[in-house]
Symmetry: D2
Subunit: 317 residues, 4 copies
Amino acid sequence: MLLAGGTGVVTQELLKDALKYGKCFVRNGNTANYIPELQRVNKYQLGICAVGFDGDLPEVVEVGDSRVPFTIQSISKIISLILAVRDRGPDYLFHDKVGVEPTGDPFNSIVKLETKSRPFNPFINAGAIAVASCINGTSADEKFDRFLELTRKLCNNKEISLNESVYQSEKETGDRNRALAYYLKASGVLEGDVEECLDLYFRMCSVSVTALDIANLSAVLANQGKCPFSKEMLIEPHSAKAIRALMLTCGMYDGSGEFAMSVGFPAKSGVGGGIAVPLVGRMGIGVFGPSLDEKGNSIGGIKMLEFLSEKLDYQLF
Amino acid sequence: MLLAGGTGVVTQELLKDALKYGKCFVRNGNTANYIPELQRVNKYQLGICAVGFDGDLPEVVEVGDSRVPFTIQSISKIISLILAVRDRGPDYLFHDKVGVEPTGDPFNSIVKLETKSRPFNPFINAGAIAVASCINGTSADEKFDRFLELTRKLCNNKEISLNESVYQSEKETGDRNRALAYYLKASGVLEGDVEECLDLYFRMCSVSVTALDIANLSAVLANQGKCPFSKEMLIEPHSAKAIRALMLTCGMYDGSGEFAMSVGFPAKSGVGGGIAVPLVGRMGIGVFGPSLDEKGNSIGGIKMLEFLSEKLDYQLF
Amino acid sequence: MLLAGGTGVVTQELLKDALKYGKCFVRNGNTANYIPELQRVNKYQLGICAVGFDGDLPEVVEVGDSRVPFTIQSISKIISLILAVRDRGPDYLFHDKVGVEPTGDPFNSIVKLETKSRPFNPFINAGAIAVASCINGTSADEKFDRFLELTRKLCNNKEISLNESVYQSEKETGDRNRALAYYLKASGVLEGDVEECLDLYFRMCSVSVTALDIANLSAVLANQGKCPFSKEMLIEPHSAKAIRALMLTCGMYDGSGEFAMSVGFPAKSGVGGGIAVPLVGRMGIGVFGPSLDEKGNSIGGIKMLEFLSEKLDYQLF
Amino acid sequence: MLLAGGTGVVTQELLKDALKYGKCFVRNGNTANYIPELQRVNKYQLGICAVGFDGDLPEVVEVGDSRVPFTIQSISKIISLILAVRDRGPDYLFHDKVGVEPTGDPFNSIVKLETKSRPFNPFINAGAIAVASCINGTSADEKFDRFLELTRKLCNNKEISLNESVYQSEKETGDRNRALAYYLKASGVLEGDVEECLDLYFRMCSVSVTALDIANLSAVLANQGKCPFSKEMLIEPHSAKAIRALMLTCGMYDGSGEFAMSVGFPAKSGVGGGIAVPLVGRMGIGVFGPSLDEKGNSIGGIKMLEFLSEKLDYQLF
């Protein structure tokens, strides 16, 4: 089975080689350790999936643990941002609520909020919490239902659901995020009830997905917002473009610059081990590898993407 | 009526002159504006009281609005510290929970917590919240009752009670303090339940006192912990000494250095307009003046103390 | 005259429209004001030039003030980086001397050096000064001669030379940069003599170029390091790729995220009003517009590039 | 020989006991290691001297290495401040050039200068450099001569002179101070030529003194500015008071709060191992002990002062 890109071709052989290469680095990292549900995941798992849409029919290539469920974590920040931009408009959201600049600080840092109340970008925790407070809905349940419905469509998988025990753990241990949220509330950035907003935030982070799901989500982003399977427009093209730009400059936490240099793809990672990679006009890639480097990015995932970037000779910039 | 100090004598005439001098500066400041109960206080009020204990009988001299009730606010940080040191011991408290260094940052700053999880000192909000979490008691009610009982003894006034509407307002608008508390919880500094700790903190800040009450409290601190009226030992002498030192270096927020230079007395202010001033071996002074400078200290109060420091020729150092 | 891009075509008409659009915004900004030579430049100037190399012969299209000389300023950071990577190797340079992460802080900020001695990236001043100290040569003169020679080749213009009076002014007013340099020296990052390094740095910033020159430089970067005119390899392809990645994440100071979202091209600006834009495999663009926004980027230049990005429908990511 | 204090008496026996106590802690620290001249000092040295002036004749009590020369280092910040206040007046100096607040940051920190250009206080390096730039004189030599002349008078020792090799080492390794100075120049705080100011600063730090000299200096500060030997007024009383206040809140670097609590005396330390302690109306104390704690204060010196504070029952506040 083949997947044709502009200058490169993603075959199962190629993904197998990438997987083999990525596996060499997995032992250098560790699973996230702040909740037991993440810590006890087998760190040697690794999988990758690509969804191409060059021809009429989208093509799917996948190897390794591409169907193993994991929690979406920070990749959910993409989906909540799509909703909030739709609900409030990009001008309001990016002017009043959150910036679009990379920060150089870790994802859960609070220091910059003291000099500049608006969080730097929607992909650090403070920014994502501010964004979550801008999602319309009369209750946390209604807001989360909207999130879940959109996630299922973007991932082309109606079975996607909450991992209840991760959600409970996130909620119990989320005091650093609570601090960020109350700080944002005190500065007038966070709208509405803080605990409701945090509840939504923790739920969104705890949704269970696979590398295949994430590849589908990435394919929609890469296809200007249109699902390559259903042909439904799921994201406004302008939002899709903005999100790809944000992924490039801020998607890999404070390792984004390094990743832009070594790989050069827009990407968003999560501490569950996932990485979403939209290659505009070509394909979406989904990665799962729960062994993380010190910045919280999948070690094996980054190495597979480095391998592909080299082999595909696919140069964005 | 006279009040003899070592080199100076505090008479009602002297306090009247101080009051007259202090009044000139009141219009340059404003009442605290973060809750309506504080904002609507008449900023032109000013009062001062001194309780001396040189001879057998303590003497009280007072002028101006020395019997007008106001909320104790940050002056309560002294009393909660006395309790926590008693409950946990100074070694544990000052080693594990809170430092004793001035910070140079505003009282509600969060930045230093990111590099050094233990708050710098017990008189900034983060430090006082950490201290509050170390007060023994099976419930917030029991902890607050212990605080209130000690406060009444220190102030020699059994009528002291909570200002319920200030407490409710503090609680409703306390999101910045909530952020500090959850940050401390995430760092393992704050013990127990965060909301219970905050509830206690807000209640302690909302107790209603007068300048006379604060002068009594200060007199106990200045008298090595012994109440000059009841002769009861209310503070361990070592604690009293430590607190006077902390008042000197950290008691006036990020204006402590300036105050040490212009006045040179240990002091602790609150945004309700109070200032407590213990002059060791001599007297305790209590001030009320709700017009605040930009650092949150009573403008008229500082000026009255400058006047007294000059006139008394009473030089600590 | 035409210049064919992959999906778009840059004609003189298109550049004229871009120029017309960009001119509308020029009055909202100001020239750099830290030295008189920059401040007195006519801020209403605006020009743009594109050098394409799709076919055998490179094509040049230009409008407006594309031949007006201005000082290269921070765009020189690209050229000094090419030299230093060549002299020391990318592994040493990017591991020991300078990072590759965007910072969120202004270009002349010193705060992050206190917690992390290595500057965040080579395009903030601290990073560029560290890079300058890694250029080989037995004297500042020899190092600058190497820089000038490479600049002339990259710009395809043998006449390029130093603007002596800007250099003198930079040197006289460069105390903030001196502070950065001595801080780096104290941390062991800056090699060799500080004043010699700064002298080189100030000279490199003061070289006089035009938008045409910058378009040529950009074309070399976009053409994998090969000059489209002379066909000479001037930059190692790996360096060219790394530099394009850095331009995308860090090239527009702390406005890089916004620029990635609104324009989406790799770019490096200078406070002289220049912007270099390499579009890989397509063309190089050079911009001149000395009216700057508050972040130090050419206001008219950014608007022209926004216009082109929209019209060319040329989407990197 | 006796030295009578208000409530306590300093005898040679008492100082011997203090010395014995202090010696127990010396091995826990280390000499300053940034220049070889300081590093190779025998860290086991310890000495203390007290100069009392209660009666007509000043009394001197001393034990241990009280006549061993060491470099004055940061204690010189007191003397340069006296000169600058005299030359410019306290209002200008403390309003425009330097604050009077403790900072919570290490003595050589640069971070706070980025948000608040004026250094926090005259006893951190940035503040002392700003102060040095305010000393009158037509050349660095003339300024230093004025400093040396005042130092000799304050220390009651005409032999005091520069340690040339320490000065050369300070100058060679002073890049962090150079960074501070150029930063202050760029912000408009530092007046005149930066290198001349630094040269003066390094020379002032490199003057050679003994514990006896420092005790004399402290006695002048404690005696409202009048030399107890010559009866000459050397410091304006207002300056002496301001300096004692600054010593109390900022004199022991970022260990000032701890020292106020455990000892409670105004004090200024230097990394050469000296500590100056003025006890107002009583005596001046000089300490020498080159073994430093991690904050840069003499370990043995602090312990001797703790001992004295306890034994003398001499309570400032």
